[in-house]
Symmetry: C2
């Protein structure tokens, strides 16, 4: 009785977000933009990346630009014109940032597992 109620009561989930920001809290790069970078790396095209991730080209482009302005260096080398219209690829710095972030996320994820387990163990215990 108390147990089954307890289970229902705490049918909640723990979520988190991780992002890079400036000193004064302005967001630079988060999950979404990193995914975009990754997709650009994969496809060689900002448009293709935006399409694949189902965001408008306009927004994707603006996001990259915004991030670059805040970071102070270029993440994506863009070329336009030509038969194919143009193409984009990550700069070295872009690639490095991307891989560092990926690793970070993995580490994060791993270390979070036990913590959340502990949390739920605790909040579920007192309902009985």
């Amino acid at each position: 009785m108390a147990g089954s109620q307890g289970d229902k009561y705490y049918d909640v989930f723990l979520r988190y977000r991780l992002w890079l920001s400036t000193k004064d809290g302005v967001g630079i790069l988060g999950e979404g933009r990193l995914a975009l970078l990754k997709e650009i790396d994969k496809t060689g095209s900002l448009k293709a990346a935006a399409d694949n991730l189902n965001v408008s080209y306009r927004k994707a482009w603006g996001n990259i630009k915004h991030a670059e302005e805040l970071l102070g260096f270029i993440l994506v080398e863009k070329h336009r014109g030509g038969k194919l219209g143009g193409k984009s690829q990550l700069t070295e710095e872009g690639k490095n940032l991307l891989s560092a972030y990926d690793e970070l996320k993995d580490d994060f994820e791993a270390s979070i597992k036990d913590i959340t387990r502990k949390f739920f163990k605790k909040i579920n215990k007192k309902s009985e």
Copy 2:
């Protein structure tokens, strides 16, 4: 030269947020609302808590209510009327949730330190 540039390039900070949500991603309780609970616990008043945290009473009240609806149980016992107008105090469940969250945050904070250190070490290294 490369070093000093590198330092400027990566003058960024890592931020995170942690919150409870429903299965389908609706936010229930985050940093702000937990702070509110803590302040209610301290002051015995929703209004005082809202004032102290510089949020409108309307918003504070709505937030608590929203969280309670999503959780399916009451976090705050509210009383109105009387010479003092009314008062509020955390329920047992509210207190438990609060303390569990605090502990969670501490654990989180601690485990994050090395991870972020590693991250910054990595992204700063390749600029030289």
